[in-house]
Amino acid sequence: MKKQKGKLAGLQKRKAISGYLFISPFIIGFLMFMVKPLCQSFYMSFCTVELGSGIFNEIWIGLENFVEAFTIDPDYNRLLVEEFTRMMAYSLGIIVFSFFVSLILNQEFKGRAMVRAIFFLPVILSSGVIIGLETDNQLMDTLAQTIEMTTENVSITDALEEVLRTAGVGVRAFEEVFELIDNIYDVAIASGIQIIIFLSGLQTIPSSMYEAASIEGCTKWESLWKITFPMISSLFLVNWIYTVIDFCMRSDNGVIEKIQTVMLDQMNYGLASAMSWIYFIIVLAFVGLTSFFISKGVYYYD
């Protein structure tokens, strides 16, 4: 009995060792390329960095970089606020859109494979440098203007917007929605991964649940709210976090661009670190806070 127990501990130990061996690349990489730079950049945000030949000096100047970022730099505050409001509106839009699309794509219809392929195309098209180039393409804007002029303002969305504006209730909220709808392309192109995640969740819901519900007299609308929604509520959390992070790290993000110019063009490493730490902490706080509230509403089936 005692011998057996000892053997088990040996097996567990062996398993633990091989587990560590398996994740050792991550541990080494994490310690070398994440912890050290993270600490260093945190330290650097309190310093001015002077580059010399073969060495670099860090001179402690306290909170000066942070003060400069907030009070002296002309763009930083404005960019932070702008990007933050944009991020909130867009993230909400992306979540709603991708949930809606994945509901449709989960149904059976002809040509589903093709439609799915088209909807996942943005995963390729919206990555890296391409998305940044896409947004400031004036040629497309002029083309769109020409088309708009030739059709002489018969636009359903314009008419609808006009009606809603004259209604006069919640105009500011409507303005955000209008902006989202006008930029529906941006929303569609940013929601490839989210659609995939929602779809994968929808496919794990057993169809027997829906059958049972419909036999009991549940309508489709009710089963959407009573079955689908709770069953994939955990994926809302995943998607929300992913969307916010993805939006904040996109290369056409104003704050990121600002940090890049400060670092690479002005060679001001200290200020760049301070800026990115402020940004990182704000984003992290936002993600933490919102996911705390979302996770309260998440329902776990098992």
């Binding site: 994740i23 080494i28 440098v129």
Partner: protein, 335 residues
């Protein structure tokens, strides 16, 4: 004759069944038809929304400069030309950049996925002390924007040293900037582009595979590594393929890491980002006179360049589309 007869009987049969169900059947049929028509319209609209920019780019890329200013010409060029492709290829240094990008993306994707699979498997299957701590670190890696640490990584590789060993041997620290080595080191340590996400996805996939097969292999005397290679890897093919595709594609279009570590090599992503700036210099060189390039024309060249860079990806996507889409959506990611 018989055909119409069967049709008629089918119709009367339907009528009869409809009457029996008290009009429910007809109502349901009409509802179903209405829903599918609405769905088709909606999906057509959204697919068009996604495809339209690509179609637009294709048509613009074949236009001459005068077509761009002609308000009548919208999608079909009046003067068909392939000149834009030649110019874009020249500026992008297309062949060299393509070969470079292909090599870099391929090697980096292979390296990243190999390492991430190992780590993901380690997290999914083994129990060891501080496991949840290390997994929290993976989540941290997903959350930290690379921009936050970019400045200090920059310096880290500018004055590279491993615990003072190199300093002791060579007298000074290594300058690794300008070579691709740092990026390979980052990839080998799971700190490349979105590597935390791959680890997370692969871990989820391994967790869903039943443990029986592994246990059988252990009982039969298979070692840990052998079990992993022989038993688990073949089962994880779908997730590895899709992660590989993600990695390849994101590396292909990535501007951030490429600009930081691989800046000296002509890559498609970095040269595309510089395309508009280099266009002026190029035209000046060819024409011999200093001119300002019009906005429309530079955008036209930009569209052409973007198209040329997306094309390899689209070809890849067409081939791998089924594995990509189906495997991802059958992974069943759970939190």
């Amino acid at each position: 004759m018989t055909k119409s007869k069967t049709k008629k009987t089918a119709f009367s049969d339907f009528k009869e069944r409809n009457q029996k169900s008290g009009g429910y059947l007809l109502k349901k049929k009409i509802m179903g038809g209405g829903v599918s028509i609405c769905r088709a319209l909606l999906l057509f609209g959204m697919c068009f929304l996604i495809l339209q920019p690509i179609l637009n780019k294709i048509s613009v890329s074949f236009m001459t400069e005068e077509d761009l200013y002609n308000p009548v010409v919208i999608s079909i060029p009046q003067n068909f030309t392939t000149e834009n492709y030649k110019i874009a290829a020249d500026i992008l240094n297309y062949k060299e950049a393509l070969v470079n990008s292909l090599f870099t993306s391929l090697t980096i994707a292979v390296l990243q996925i190999a390492v991430c699979t190992l780590v993901g498997y380690g997290f999914a299957r083994f129990k060891f002390p501080f496991k949840s701590f290390w997994f929290a670190c993976v989540i941290l890696v997903i959350l930290v924007p690379p921009q936050t640490i970019s400045s200090s990584l920059h310096l880290h590789f500018r004055f590279f040293d491993v615990m003072g060993i190199i300093q002791a041997v060579k007298g000074e620290s290594l300058n690794l900037r300008g070579s691709a080595l740092p990026y390979y080191m980052l990839s080998a340590g799971c700190m490349g582009l979105k590597n935390g996400l791959y680890i997370y996805m692969i871990r989820q996939f391994f967790r869903n595979i039943p443990e029986d097969m592994e246990e059988a292999a252990y009982v039969d005397g298979c070692g840990t590594l052998k079990t992993f290679v022989r038993i688990m890897l073949p089962q994880a093919k779908p997730i590895i393929t899709s992660c590989f595709l993600f990695s390849f594609v994101w590396q292909w279009t990535d501007g951030f890491y490429s600009k930081m570590f691989l800046g000296t090599k002509p890559l498609v992503s970095t040269s595309l980002a510089r395309l508009v700036d280099s266009l002026g210099a190029y035209i000046q060189r060819v024409m011999g006179i200093k001119t300002t390039v019009s906005l429309a024309y530079s955008n036209c060249i930009l569209s052409t360049g973007t198209l040329m860079i997306i094309v390899p990806l689209i070809i890849l996507y067409l081939f791998a589309q089924r594995t990509f889409v189906e495997s991802i959506s059958s992974t069943g990611i759970k939190m």
